[in-house]
């Protein structure tokens, strides 16, 4: 590559990086603001939910307590999970088997676990670009949870 060509390309690359950096700074500010607003909203919602829960008491609990096993096809093989349910809510999800998954993708896909716990339900969206692995986790959790559903 000639130095002139290299120089032009390097300048373009640096420009792109600088733009990304500028974007990131602005977006991070905005994200902070959004988190703050969300946290406030969440607090209000929590308060309401607490009141609601007291009213409905234990009747409303969705699932049986215990640890349940579930499995489903992932990207390159079976994904197995242990789902622990305490006080009727999904409290932990341990993936005990995921040897068929590529690590990069699995790492991204594992984000669905937090979401599942947050919404107390395995019906969450898959992670784009890591569809197979995240779908595998979701289905495995759903499989486990189906064993815990109150008749």
């Amino acid at each position: 590559m000639k130095y002139s060509v290299f120089g032009v390309r390097l300048a373009a690359l640096l420009l792109i990086l600088a733009t990304l950096y500028g974007y990131q700074v602005t977006a991070a500010d905005r994200a902070q603001e959004i988190t703050r607003v969300k946290a406030e909203a969440l607090q209000i919602r929590r308060q309401r939910e607490d009141e609601e829960r007291e009213r409905l008491a234990i009747l409303a609990q969705k699932y049986k307590n215990g640890t349940f096993e579930g499995e489903a096809e992932g990207f390159g093989g079976l994904i197995k999970v242990h789902v622990t349910i305490t006080e009727g809510n999904i409290s932990t999800v341990d993936v005990v088997e995921h040897s068929g998954e590529d690590e990069v993708y699995f790492g991204m896909a594992a984000a669905v676990i937090e979401e599942i716990i947050a919404v107390n339900d395995p019906q969450v969206d898959t992670v784009s670009s890591a569809t197979f692995s995240s779908q595998g986790i979701i289905r495995a959790v759903a499989d486990a949870v189906s064993k815990a559903v109150k008749a």
Binding site: F75, G76, V104, S128, S129
Partner: protein, 302 residues
């Protein structure tokens, strides 16, 4: 000359034979490297592109960017290309390897079965414009991500189908579009070297816009060229004379084929002055990439 040695010297090889031995050894090393990467990191190119997709999707949605494993992979690939040229494309990428394998097989069949002296290639007029198509592919994909409508293409990705196959899983029924595209691409691969790489690959489009450190890129000294010689360009899978074609220099996948066909030895990489044996330099780069790949989580087994 030094004749003082008392033992009978081994029969000296002619310069041409020496050169051929050198080329052969390097070629074998290259094939070995590609096999290893094909088996261990078959999804690396798609992962790198996922980095771009993630960045564009996040920007389109106005979210702040985070350094996830896709972005790290993208940065690793781009940094490697900046330092060593498109070594990734030349020797690591499973899809590039697939293309070369398909073309190699097709050229062999054309020679043995149809007795064609030279395998088919697209004429110059056709393939120069086609080389620009990949930028359109890149632009369309990036735009779809930024608009948040990338999911429209679910099931249409030939890369997805390919990566399923490398995991020995048959792609599911929703992937008909991707399967059809993959078959078409393989047919294309049989007609032109690096068909997908030079015409369609969105990741290749990004790589071909990258700056490459001038002292590690493949270049030529054309003031010594034979008159009317086009050997390097004719033998180059992407049809360029390295260092001469300005913008097109980015197409170079650093395969180093041109070095061996130049009758004047005009094509070189300055780094080869430091590491004299070219095959050693290949192995070093491969090891370096492998270590990086393992850290990025690209390796299927480690």
């Amino acid at each position: 000359m030094n004749d003082s040695s008392s033992q009978t010297p081994p029969k000296p090889l002619s310069a041409a034979a020496l050169k051929e031995r050198k080329t052969r050894r390097k070629m074998l090393v290259g094939v070995g490297i590609r096999l290893v990467f094909f088996v261990t990191m078959p999804a690396a190119f798609a992962t790198g592109f996922s980095g771009i997709k993630y960045l564009m999707t996040a920007i389109g949605a106005g979210e702040s960017l985070s350094m996830n494993s896709f972005v790290w992979t993208l940065m690793g690939l781009l940094a490697f290309t900046f330092l060593f040229g498109r070594f990734f494309c030349g020797y690591v990428c499973a899809f590039g390897t697939l293309g070369d394998a398909v073309y190699g097989l097709s050229a062999w069949i054309q020679k043995k079965v149809f007795h064609r002296k030279k395998p088919l290639v697209f004429p110059d007029k056709v393939y120069r414009p086609l080389q620009k198509v990949k930028y359109v592919v890149l632009a369309v994909l990036v735009l779809l991500c930024a608009l948040g409508s990338y999911s429209l293409l679910t099931g249409w990705s030939p890369w997805n189908v390919f990566s399923r196959l490398t995991a020995f899983q048959w792609p599911s029924a929703g992937y008909i579009g991707g399967i059809v595209l993959l078959v078409l691409i393989v047919i294309g691969m049989a007609c032109q070297p690096r068909f997908f790489c030079q015409f369609l690959c969105p990741m290749g489009a990004v790589f071909s816009l990258m700056p490459v450190l001038p002292f590690s890129a493949v270049t030529s000294r054309s003031e010594n060229c034979l008159k009317g010689c086009q050997a390097c360009r004719k033998n180059c899978p992407v049809g360029i004379k390295p260092g001469e074609d300005k913008f097109l220099d980015g197409e170079c996948v650093a395969c180093e084929k041109c070095m061996h066909v130049c009758p004047k030895g005009n094509i070189h990489r300055p780094t080869h002055k430091i590491i004299r044996h070219e095959w050693v330099s290949l192995v070093l780069k491969a090891v370096l990439f492998f270590v990086m790949g393992v850290f990025l989580g690209l390796c299927r087994f480690l």
